[in-house]
Amino acid sequence: MLDRLHSKKGLQLFIALIAGFLFGFLLQKGGATKYNVIIGQLLLEDNTVVKIMLSAVVTGMIGVYAMKGMGIAKLHPKPGSWVTAGIGGLIFGVGFAVLGYCPGTVAGAVGNGAMDALAGGVVGIIIGAGLFAGVYAKLLPFLNKGSFKKLTLPELLNVNEWIVIMPAIAVIVLLLVLLERAGL
């Protein structure tokens, strides 16, 4: 429906800048641009990051699937396998703890004035991504092993989307309520 808007390249780059501005603004207001908050999350002392992520997932899920149902938005689930998501995820996790920022929050941290995020984090992530590009061709057969054929949980379970969405929302909301009740 909005295909014409989607194909306007210059306008899309401008929209991306505005969306990024709002994203960065929100991350900073949430405290997620701070090393202390992120390390606090990974040490299970401060659940700010998980609270932000889970409430974004719940809110986003409802709207994006509703728009998909109306035929005005398309999903873009990433392909992958246990090798890509599992091993790559664990390597990322170690980097997450060593750096204390992630690729989005490191950019936010730079805006917040964190020099370790700029001189260490941003430079490191660029080098790391470049190193991965260097070994990508060799890794490819291994990465493609057992690629998921069904990309989303509703497809995997072969059920109506809302049969997965409703319980997923219930579980996440319950988890957040329990966290608050426990004062965590």
Binding site: G20, I39, T59
Partner: protein, 171 residues
Amino acid sequence: MEWLTQIRWSPYIVGAGIGVLSWITFLISDKPLGCSTAFARTSGMLGKIFGKKRIEENKYFQKFVPEIDWEWMLVLGVIIGAFVSALISGDFRFLFLPSKWIAHFGNTPVLRFFVALIGGILMGFGARWAGGCTSGHGISGALQLAVSSWIAAICFFIGGIAAAFLIFRVF
């Protein structure tokens, strides 16, 4: 407009805001929020300075062409948005060492920069291996109920929590 100058907002408000922002980008840009490919593209753009041919022949950079794209502009926007938010709430300051770091490792900026660089390298490598980061998999992928994203997001935290405990509790 006092809320705009508050230093911190409730994480639920922030999360819901990011969720609504996702609706908007899916609708008007047909794009999920995601940050890590911007770093890969930057790496290719910088690599071209040293050897154009090598980058052009690289299979990964044929898939993720080194150019300024939607996600690259998004990341640029994140820097500016966080800067404005910090500035108007009086929360902007040049920081060389986070206090949690100082409490454990003392106040030598060189050590922190070196460790941050190593962490960044691991993260850049891992993000591209996993095909996404905390935003691309952890938020955008998870909200689409993508199988790979839920596995990746859980592994981000398993790896992160294990490494953080090792770094801060054992050493």
